[in-house]
Symmetry: C2
């Protein structure tokens, strides 16, 4: 590994100048924004008293019930040293301690992309979109539902790269089930590095895989670069209720130690993994987050960390997870307030749905998640496009449709332009009562940029729509993602860096037999 | 007509006791709420300065450009007497005058339904849903797109009546094209009165038809009842830009004079009927509303009136109207602020879409309209269900799917329950870390009412969904609306009143030849 690092460090020197020039060219060309600066207010569903109640309940939960840190003795030692009451794997926090430990985490951070024009700021009023994460299956209208492959994985990376509305390349955009479990992370991280130049997420399924990700980042960005820069944001899920397990703790530790960001996220289906109420669920989520964030800050004070929540509801009839529900929306808004109160960047929401196909159910549920996600003040939106079937399938058509919704969100998040031009008083002087604004000078001067232009919606007359084949939205999206892939052009990469990445990957693959778990 | 009135007044006497008893029974049985009391905050997109700017611009527009009141000399006389500068049909308002005239309109009002348990409060924090309005076509999966009939009209009235989430029976739920233009209003109003007991809207296409509506209301509610009670809320659209025409003014005058409510609504496709910017569009809408509201208050100070806006955007490529766009959402939020600043009940939004079929486009666009509608603080939501194809078609399947979304909105609008029970601390004592909440006492005590239960969403496994026919959401909605119609039971009506209504209708029909416009 040391050899690979050396090589990377060497090739990095020669790469700097070329990359800077290329970045400049790209930046000049880029029509997209690297992230959204939100200019609309957040929705404050909880009163200040309600926030205080939930925070007090979370503290009480941490103190009286505690959190279990399983199969990870060093975490127990860290918490004991920090003043916690540790009994077996159960850690109880004196009131206020977890919050105090969490306070060293930064309010916001920059995740550097290999194309610096695509680096993202995460926190404050920023809003960063990342694709669907973790689906074992993929779905498209032609092939239906099938296991994901590394080819699908690369396709979703390319689609995310090609869209001006997706800021981040994400992580497990689908599970490449055709690769051995213990080696697929190498090809996944490589795909993000090679077929995109947007920021990305690292592997978390085993601490070794987190370390592999970090090594690959060192090859890509240079040996010393990571010490001062965050180039990776990775997803660390709690094992709710109230448990952190060793794989996640190990990965979180590896990333935090290397100054890389983690998203500390209770993944909760309310009613099964938390109480059946929004207030109870938020209480538990906050306790789990405080404990998880405290852990990262004990590893390395100041390591970037995101307050994550993934909360949805259950069908109390079938036990199936449900999405786009009003209770989930309320949890999204409420969690945002708790994150702001704690002063951390916030992750929640996305374009979630339970539907098996990209139909009206999928769209209603996704929109009913995405809009609350925006107005909850979310900074990092995983699953912003492509999520289908409760996260079991990454859908190509839904990916394309969701991208269009993200484009609209860019406009919505910008608020109402109150410039002199936007006030348009001159237009009123030009157009008399009963007149028509389409041809007036003000409209002509503004129409190009006036309204968001949907890539998916058909607004034509029914006659024209029928003449064009009477295609519904998923059929149009099918043509759209295929065109995006056909027109895809890979971002350039330094051949030496690419070679070093491939060498590292092949060496790591050769170092262990294939495994199925 | 006088004879009809007399008869109605007589039969009303005998009806009082029976109706009161029936209403009591119905009230006891009703699981639904008559309207939503919103407990979530409004989204304030515009700063106070921005509101002041738009208000100042609207005043300037009223003063410098003015509004045309066409083919309605009595309106010109009223405005001249009130201090306006009237040149031809152009009325210019001294700064502040329109606002002052509008100030006699009530901040909120009750629209009484014939079943008093279904009366709605309109204004303040209330939220009332009404169905799609004005579509010449209807659409269902079986028959496709076709002209609407009075049979379709009755069906939509029955569906609205059958849903616990629809508070209002609406107005022109589809255009009954099979009836003569000059007589269909009688059957439309009758259908609302007979096949529902929820509040409804009156005819506005001609002042005579407004007067017929009022006569029918007198028959239904009693001769004197209307003087002190509002039993009808009707839609008065401006002819934007900056024109009010005689049909609408005549209808508005008839309703206001009878103390019945009107929704003063600029219907604006931004870029064609207003400037191509949100700020410019809001300015114009406010000016048109102020003038329209002022007119109603000159007719009868204190007559209930709603600040209405219908704002959407155009495709600047094709000129086609577009819906669910971010610019429309911004206009919805902004208009709500202007309405609150003026102190009037507010109407906007709905479940709008441009799609020709109830697909993902329809659902994305509808949700992207409905959620802003809620958070804009809207009090009266026309087109809350069934709207398709830019309002050209009332869709049965979309009606059923939208009803489900309205159900969810009831929960969302309720905010987060912070009761002791909802805080759920006892559940945490019961369920250890790593445990499961599904079986715990707190969940068992709450699961029945814990989560909204969707009537349309399928949350089952893909295997079960396939075993059940792999139906997409519109196919499931198709079965749902058919079941609702099959199970529909008409609300009782006093036979004497019914007879008097039918007599009035037949007499009016006999009084004129059929007309086609």
């Amino acid at each position: 590994m040391a050899q690979g690092e050396e090589k990377a460090a060497t090739s990095r020197e020669g790469r700097r100048g070329r990359e800077a020039r290329r970045a400049q060219r790209l930046q000049a060309r880029a029509a997209s924004v690297p992230w959204i600066q939100r200019r609309v207010p957040t929705t404050e569903i909880l009163s200040p008293e309600a926030i205080a109640t939930i925070e007090a309940n979370a503290e009480r939960l941490l103190e009286e019930v505690g959190i279990e840190f399983r199969d990870y003795p060093s975490a127990l030692a860290r918490f004991r040293d920090a003043g916690c009451d540790v009994q077996g794997v159960r850690v109880r926090f004196p009131r206020g301690l977890a919050r105090k430990l969490a306070s060293t985490a930064p309010r916001e951070y920059v995740q550097v992309a290999r194309n610096p024009a695509r680096s993202v700021r995460i926190g404050g009023d920023s809003l960063v979109f990342a694709p669907v994460y973790g689906s074992p299956f993929v779905h498209d209208l032609d092939g239906g539902r099938r296991y994901g492959t590394i080819e699908d994985f690369r396709n979703f990376v390319k689609l995310a790269y090609a869209s001006p509305f997706m800021h981040h390349s994400g992580g497990t955009v689908c599970e490449p089930v055709d690769l051995p479990v213990n080696k697929r992370h190498l090809e996944m991280v490589y795909a993000h590095m090679r077929w995109s130049d947007k920021p990305f997420m690292g592997s978390v399924t085993h601490p070794d895989r987190a370390r592999d990700t970090i090594e690959m980042c060192r090859i890509l960005f240079g040996q010393d670069f990571l010490e001062a820069n965050t180039v990776c944001t990775s997803l660390i899920n709690a094992n709710s209720p109230l448990v952190w397990d060793s794989a996640m703790l190990g990965a979180a530790e590896a990333y935090a130690a290397a100054n890389q960001a983690t998203i500390i996220t209770p993944f909760i289906l309310s009613g099964a993994m938390s109480p059946v109420t929004v207030a109870g669920t938020l209480t538990q989520a906050l306790a789990e987050i405080l404990a998880g964030v405290a852990f990262t800050q004990l590893v390395r004070p100041g390591a970037p960390v995101i307050f994550g929540t993934f909360v949805s509801t259950l069908s109390m009839q079938s036990g199936a997870p449900t999405f786009g529900t009003p209770e989930a929306a309320l949890a999204i808004y409420g969690a945002g307030q708790l994150a702001r109160s704690l002063g951390l960047p916030f992750r929640t929401g996305g374009s979630l749905c339970a539907s098996k196909v990209p139909d009206a159910q999928a769209a209603y549920e996704s929109a009913q998640t995405l809009l609350p996600t925006l107005f909850a003040g979310t900074n990092f939106v995983l699953h912003a496009a492509g999520w289908m079937e409760g996260g079991l399938a990454s859908s190509y058509e839904k990916f394309a449709m969701d991208l269009d919704q993200l484009g609209m969100t860019h406009v919505l998040a910008g608020g109402i332009d109150m410039s002199e031009n936007a006030q348009a008083f001159e237009a009123f002087r030009e157009v008399a009562p009963g007149g028509h604004f389409l041809g007036c000078a003000h409209t002509q001067a503004n129409f190009e940029s006036a309204f968001y232009r949907s890539s998916v919606a058909d607004n034509n007359s029914v006659e024209q729509w029928e003449a064009e084949g009477a295609l519904d939205a998923p059929r149009r999206a099918n043509a759209l993602w295929k065109r995006m892939l056909a027109e895809y052009e890979a971002p350039p990469i330094d051949p030496g860096v690419d070679e070093a990445l491939r060498e590292f990957i092949e060496r790591r693959k050769a170092s262990m037999p294939d495994a199925t778990h």
